[in-house]
């Protein structure tokens, strides 16, 4: 990891950014000796040092944040640390970058912000991480304890605001335990079902003297996680699968978070069970495999929605049966007995009743199931049916010569131009759905998106976090929409400063396109506030930030432009002008029947 840290810092030496130089000097001398430095660590003398020591002890290498009054003592302690801090342009970006770092690396991403507006700017990113169960630790400054509750300058009740959107949060009110609070929050973010945690740090607590070293990262005694499922139910579930004639696996984001992709692949292939994924489950199973039905749900493939509707046994792993997946509950997999594997007992039978509740870690439980299986289900006819659906409801799209460039074509060309391990991040809207549908994902932790919260503007900051977490040989591509990109594009300044090799492709239709599509379908074409024909020229804007700008208007520009942008060593932005009338299909309307997905507007 030390090479990466220094490769990131190297461009900053010439640019002389506010935060870079100190780290650049230190990374050369101290990073390599970190392994043996544990015993030589200077004892902590302040609360803030204890906070940073807790992060170091947890193995944290990167943090994303924005300075500010109440968090200054923590930043001052961070100044002496080997942790590489990426100064973001906006706290929301810091939260999304930390979130994406957590998705790609599997370890909690760290974000920092000051009190008041710093903390409230993090809120969207924290809520996003909470909905998607991404591991993240947010550290927020707070006004000194004596001012708390007095409406002091930049005071917000941060723990109050974030209680509904964190896995756990703490107001840390003692310099002697502040480090241990951070250790515990780190452990809680990653253990069991991951999620965001927050520690609120009053300025006088972090400034205060203490010689208390933080405890090791450890979850509190009251937090228990069940790893193995009840063997009796495992046995019953295995018998059910064996006797099933129409089995289907439904892999959710929990498969990826639980590092169960390999176990699920083996299970599916061994027993020849068709595999459907949820949106967060994208990448858990290779989409180019014969058994892959790809994503189900509102904009899932027709074949995935047919399979999920007609299966007689559904093995749902690490999914919370979100309404965008299920459509109407009454018509969701109505003939299927549900085997539900989840580490969070509260997800069992929350939306869909589980006939076989298997509580535990995804990999452990899938392995238990695999060991319990004696034969494979007899499902030759079902598999043939699934293949038939794949051809009946092919995702092949029309690209008429007389229309502007179709978005699907751009997504496919990008996929073509990059490796299998390329990481894709997105904003939210039509472009996100095309990125799901027309990119062939084969590896876990290569799909980084805002699923549950649906946060427009997630794409670019998450690409920054993903870039830092990803290996050097993985390309990072942000497929964005014009509306989404405009929300957080100040992050380009960060990407330029850090010289991050990111390719942003804006599928620009000068609409907030998903809203436009719904207005056409459900609001008589009344385009209230959805026309975005006031967009800047994104290629020129990129150049103004110091990134490389490109523009696509015609089909014959697509391949070469993408190649040039991918080859560019640093941040680049392609402003791809696509057909403004392009719509996303298939589509299951809200609360609709998955099996009745529309293939065009007249079927809605």
């Amino acid at each position: 990891m030390s090479e990466r840290a220094s490769s990131i810092t190297s461009p900053t030496e010439t640019d002389d950014p506010p935060t870079g130089e100190q780290h650049a000097d230190e990374s050369a001398t101290t990073q390599d000796s970190r392994a043996e430095s544990d015993t030589e660590q200077e004892p902590v003398t302040t609360g803030a040092q204890s906070v940073i020591r807790a992060l170091e002890n947890a193995g944290v290498e990167y943090a994303f944040g924005v300075q500010g009054g109440a968090i200054m003592p923590v930043y001052d302690a961070l100044y002496d640390s080997d942790i590489y801090h990426v100064t973001m342009a906006h706290e929301q970006g810091a939260a999304h970058a930390a979130d994406a770092y957590g998705i790609v690396s599997g370890e909690p991403g760290i974000c920092l912000a000051t009190s008041g507006p710093g903390a409230t700017n993090l809120v969207t990113g924290i809520a996003d991480a909470d909905m998607d169960s991404d591991p993240m630790l947010a550290l927020t400054g707070q006004v000194p304890r004596e001012f708390v509750g007095n409406d002091a300058f930049q005071e917000t009740d941060t723990t109050g605001v974030t209680t509904p959107i964190t896995k756990d949060n703490t107001f840390s009110d003692d310099p002697d335990t502040v480090g241990s609070d951070v250790s515990e929050a780190f452990a809680l973010a990653r253990e069991g079902r991951p999620g965001p945690t927050l520690v609120d740090l009053p300025k006088d607590v972090t400034k205060a003297d203490t010689d208390h070293e933080p405890d090791d990262p450890k979850v509190p005694d009251t937090y228990e996680v069940q790893e193995r499922a009840d063997p009796e139910i495992v046995e019953q579930a295995a018998r059910r699968i064996e006797n099933s004639s129409k089995p289907a696996l439904l892999l959710g984001g929990g498969v990826i978070k639980g590092e169960a992709s390999e176990a699920c692949r083996e299970f599916a292939i061994e027993h020849e069970i068709p595999v459907i994924t949820t949106m967060p489950g994208i990448g858990s199973f290779p989409e180019d495999h014969e058994l892959s039905m790809e994503m189900a749900g509102m904009h899932g493939t027709g074949y995935a929605n047919m399979a999920v509707t007609h299966c007689d046994t559904l093995i749902g792993i690490g999914t919370r049966f979100d309404d965008r997946l299920t459509g109407g509950i009454e018509t969701f997999a109505p003939d299927a007995e549900l085997i539900h594997v989840d580490i969070d007992p509260a997800e069992i039978s929350k939306n869909i009743h589980a006939d076989y509740p298997l509580i535990g870690d995804a990999e452990t439980v899938v392995t238990q199931l695999a060991e319990e299986m004696e034969t494979s289900p007899q499902a030759t006819k079902w598999r043939a049916q699934c293949q038939q659906w794949k051809s009946d409801y092919s995702m092949a799209y029309a690209a008429p010569e007389d229309r502007p460039v179709q978005p699907e074509f751009v997504v496919e060309a990008l996929d073509e131009a990059t490796s299998d391990r390329a990481v894709v991040t997105t904003g939210v809207g039509q472009h996100q759905m095309w990125a799901c549908q027309y990119w062939t994902y084969t590896e876990p932790r290569t799909w980084v998106s805002s699923h549950g919260l649906g946060t427009m503007g997630y794409g670019l900051p998450s690409a920054i976090g993903a870039r830092i977490a990803a290996d050097d040989d993985q390309e990072v591509v942000c497929i964005d929409g014009d509306g989404s990109f405009l929300m957080t594009l100040q992050g380009l300044s960060v990407a330029v400063r850090e010289n991050l090799d990111i390719t942003v492709v804006v599928l620009n239709n000068e609409y907030i396109g998903m809203v436009r599509q719904w207005q056409d379908a459900f609001f008589e074409g009344r385009h209230a506030a959805s026309e975005y024909n006031w967009m800047p020229e994104f290629d020129k804007l990129a150049e103004a930030f110091g990134a490389q700008g490109f523009r696509i208007d015609e089909y014959d520009e697509v391949a070469d432009t993408i190649e040039a942008a991918i080859d560019y060593d640093g941040p680049s932005v392609i402003d791809a002008h696509i057909d403004p009338q392009a719509n996303v299909y298939p589509m299951v309307p809200s609360g609709g029947d998955n099996g009745q997905f529309a293939l065009a507007e007249d079927q809605l």
């Binding site: 509707t309 009454e330 069992i348 009743h353 409801y393 179709q406 009745q596 293939l599």
Partner: protein, 220 residues
């Protein structure tokens, strides 16, 4: 408009026969399964620290769980407080409440009480005291205690089940009620049965079957 795909239209596709209830339960069309709301008492042992009560009450409001009353107080262990909740939900909702409560990090243990559990509420009822003798007679009928008396008012303390208190309030209504304050229900399991206590890990197993219970037979 563009972006449409080819393939059989919705009406040309096979449709499955089954369906689910709005609670996500697969329905055998022969046996319609629908859970009616029931009232029950849930006891939660929690860390005695600031913010836990707001965590719990916030959970109930944001998940739209129907809560009748919530009481909180210290326990035999100074590090623990007990929260007693009376809720009215269908069985899947009650299961969700228990599971969501268990997920809160400061919550140590959660238990739904049996119908025979001891449940008590205290109420202070301030009535007009134009007829002190008759007020005292009604208070007697409900084992009430007069805690304050002035020429104009009498305040009676009543303890018992919520139904008993409802009845008492109704009976006092004839005098003209000036103010009422009720504590909400607190409860403990009977005898050697534990209410909700620090449990060895296996007791927190979550695969509890959902057994519809009888409405609580009250002990008063």
């Amino acid at each position: 408009m563009s972006g449409g795909l080819d393939g059989p239209a919705p009406e040309e596709r096979p449709t499955p026969k089954g369906r689910r209830t709005a609670q996500g339960i697969r329905v055998d069309p022969e046996v319609e399964a629908q859970h009616d709301p029931r009232r029950t008492v849930i006891s939660a042992l929690v860390e005695h620290e600031p913010g836990v009560l707001s965590d719990v009450s916030g959970l109930f409001s944001r998940r739209q769980f129907n809560i009748e009353s919530l009481t909180v107080g210290p326990t035999e262990d100074e590090d623990r407080a007990r929260i007693t909740l009376v809720v009215e939900e269908p069985d899947p909702g009650i299961e969700q409440i228990k599971k969501q409560l268990r997920k809160l990090v400061p919550v140590v243990s959660v238990q739904e009480l049996e119908p025979d559990a001891m449940r008590r509420e205290l109420a202070l009822v301030k009535v007009n005291a134009m007829r002190p003798d008759r007020v005292a007679a009604v208070a007697d009928m409900f084992d009430g205690k007069t805690v304050d008396a002035t020429p104009e008012t009498a305040t009676i303390e009543i303890t018992g089940s919520d139904q008993k208190i409802d009845s008492a309030i109704e009976a006092f209504g004839q005098f003209g009620i000036r103010e009422i304050s009720r504590t909400g229900t607190t409860a403990l399991a009977r005898g050697m049965t534990d209410t909700a206590r620090e449990a060895p890990p296996e007791e927190s197993a979550q695969n509890e079957p959902t057994q519809p219970q009888q409405p609580h037979a009250d002990d008063d």
